[in-house]
């Protein structure tokens, strides 16, 4: 039972982290109609910036804040230099152009920081485990991650639903021409939204960095998961992404934890231990296919354009 609770917390933490990535993707998808494969690069950059700044300043928190600003800036710069030219193009162009950006960012990072990767050590007060319920110890850092990501999710919700910018974002997602016709500076709005998406991905990356170390290409595997989430949740729907992210987080973690036992009954011990990790990764994609076949627009279709 303790094991189950702990695995659920792991699933929750992973799901919330995925949500940060998927939220940026879905905003950019929904508003600019842009498929951005290079989103994973911001995740990587966030981690690299945080490791660098934390080493400079000697403070984990300060490093994280500076890194967030830096990814926001890079995101906005990428929008102005490259992405802006891709709006209104074919989705295929987006996929290819941003595929090129992935190659560029990976190599640029290797050039600047070297091939070996960095590490982002945790301060002692986070690098511990605490007793959350009698008998159940859980990593303080992962608990902190859950709190921070929930706060960000609440902030995003408030921003999209309650503020003027949020109103424009929602309006832009459902009818771009109309927003532009109303005299809103749509260019600036796009730059801001893209930068925000980048910063969210950067936040995910820097928060994951102490758990996973910082390395080139770290965004490529998780990016596909983020895409799966966006699609399951319904493109453009932040709420849909939230639900789908938790779903994927739980399935992935619980699948890895308990699927081998199930499989052992069917396949025998040795085959199960090899097949289980692969097959539990498959579960997510099977779920996605099932959902899309049943609901081709995802779980929470955003307002149609």
């Amino acid at each position: 039972m303790t094991l189950f609770i702990e695995q659920c917390l792991n699933g929750l933490q992973f799901g919330l982290l995925l949500f940060l990535l998927a939220a940026g993707l879905t905003l950019v998808f929904g508003i600019m109609d842009l498929v951005n494969l290079a989103h994973g690069s911001f995740y990587m950059l966030g981690a690299y910036f945080a490791a660098t700044f934390a080493a400079w300043t000697g403070s984990f928190v300060l490093g994280a804040v500076l890194a967030l600003g830096a990814t926001l800036f890079v995101g906005m710069a990428v929008e102005v230099i490259a992405m802006r030219r891709l709006y209104g193009r074919d989705h295929l162009d987006h996929v290819l152009g941003t595929f090129g950006l992935i190659l560029f960012f990976d190599e640029a990072v290797r050039l600047i920081w070297g091939p070996g990767g960095l590490s982002l050590p945790l301060p002692a007060w986070l690098n511990a485990s605490i007793e959350i319920l009698p008998g159940i110890h859980y990593s303080a850092y992962r608990l902190a991650l859950i709190v921070v990501t929930l706060a960000v999710a609440a902030f995003l919700y408030a921003m999209v639903m309650r503020t003027r910018i949020g109103m424009l974002i929602r309006a832009g997602a459902s009818n771009r021409e109309m927003v532009a016709a109303l005299g809103i500076n749509i260019k600036l709005l796009y730059t801001l939204v893209f930068g925000l998406g980048g910063a969210l991905a950067g936040l995910a990356g820097l928060m994951q960095a102490p758990i996973l170390t910082v390395q080139i290409g770290m965004g490529e595997n998780i990016l596909i998961l983020a895409f799966v989430i966006t699609v399951i949740g319904g493109i453009g729907s932040v709420r849909g992404s939230f639900v789908a992210a938790l779903l994927v987080g739980f399935i992935d973690t619980l699948g890895r934890a308990f699927f081998p036992q199930v499989l052992r009954e069917v396949l025998g011990a040795s085959a199960a231990s090899t097949a289980a990790p692969a097959l539990s990764s498959m579960l997510i994609y099977i779920m996605m296919a099932v959902i899309l076949v049943a609901k081709p627009q995802g779980l929470f279709p955003a307002n149609t354009k």
Partner: protein
């Protein structure tokens, strides 16, 4: 100077002639690696040609095309592993397996549109990827080696590199011919019509879904053939053949060469694999005079050039290489 001798035609014919005569050059210079490299280019060109049929002509943005490479390849490798060495069994089985997979995922995926279609095809390819990683008997993540290439009795010996190259080249020409026949047929007209305006084709009364599905299955089968050839070429298959970045590579080939153009995918495959082989050396040569010590290492960073190059092609040269050649050809005609 219009008509036959346009730059586009000259380059196309020169490339085809070059490919045909390559083994002769190789036998003269004894640079056997060139033959190995070009066999790979020719095989991947078949995959690109097949992707072009649905992507270029049909407007279906499949982001999971590498799955068929894996399915074709694994069918051959698994049969060989289980003791079936005959190519007469292996190859048809590879084609059939790919066709069935394409039929199933096509039937499901074609219900969706746009980005959803991109993502669901990607999801199916990832499933195939993880399935292969989970097959403990067949090497899981490590992949599976072949002891021998497919046996065709006394008909042809594939372990002869030149013979194998010509088989691949023949199949490439065959694939291009097939796609050409398809595109000028009624089937191709409907497919292209669907690409530009699906609603209109529906209104006219064409069963668009069935036409698209048929094209999807043909493309998958053709790509499965390419997979069977890869397995024979490298004598090795692994789940990595199906990873999503590999599907990306295939898309890059098609777009680099020119979407919806008959020889475009061939141009693209040649260009991309050439860049992959020779860009490091080119960077090395450029950096050498400035920084002799760092030059070897600089060559390793070739993707920093390739990445932006891709973006530029997408932004400014939508027709790819074939588009550029076409532009040159028409400028000459007007000027």
């Amino acid at each position: 100077m219009s008509g036959v001798f346009t730059p586009r035609n000259i380059v196309t014919v020169a490339l085809l002639a070059g490919l045909t005569l390559l083994p002769l050059y190789v036998s003269l210079t004894d640079d056997r690696f060139l033959l190995t490299l070009f066999t790979r280019i020719v095989i991947l060109a078949i995959a690109a040609v097949s992707l072009n049929l649905i992507l270029g002509y049909g407007g279906m943005m499949s982001f999971g095309h590498a799955a068929y490479l894996g399915i074709g390849g694994y069918t051959v490798a698994i049969l060989a592993f289980e003791g079936v060495q005959s190519g007469f069994v292996q190859w048809p089985a590879a084609l059939a397996a790919s066709a069935v997979f394409a039929l199933v995922i096509g039937a499901l995926s074609l219900r969706t549109r746009g980005v959803y279609f991109i993502m669901i095809t990607l999801a199916f390819a990832q499933m195939a990827y993880y399935l292969a990683s989970g097959m403990a008997r067949y090497g899981s993540d490590d992949g599976l080696g072949l002891d021998n290439r497919s046996q065709f009795g006394g008909l042809i010996d594939l372990s002869n590199k030149t013979a194998f190259y010509y088989v691949c080249l023949f199949l490439l020409f065959g694939s291009i011919f097939l796609v050409w026949r398809l595109t000028i047929s009624r089937f191709g007209m409907v497919l292209r019509g669907t690409r530009s305006n699906e609603t209109r084709m529906l209104a006219i009364g064409f069963p668009v879904y069935r036409y698209k599905l048929a094209a999807f299955v043909i493309a998958g089968t053709l790509c499965g053939l390419s997979g069977a050839l890869i397995a024979n070429h490298t004598e090795f298959v692994s789940p990595a053949m199906m990873f999503w970045t590999r599907s990306g590579d295939l898309m890059v080939m098609v777009v680099l060469g020119g979407m919806g153009s008959l020889f475009g995918p061939l141009f693209g495959a040649v260009a991309l694999l050439f860049l992959e082989q020779f860009l490091p050396a080119a960077i090395h040569a450029v950096v050498q005079p400035f920084n002799p010590a760092g030059a070897v290492k600089a060559g390793e960073y070739w993707q920093i050039v390739l990445g932006p190059l891709l973006l530029l092609v997408v932004l400014f040269a939508r027709g790819g290489i074939d588009g550029l050649l076409r532009m040159l050809s028409s400028r000459e005609r007007h000027g």
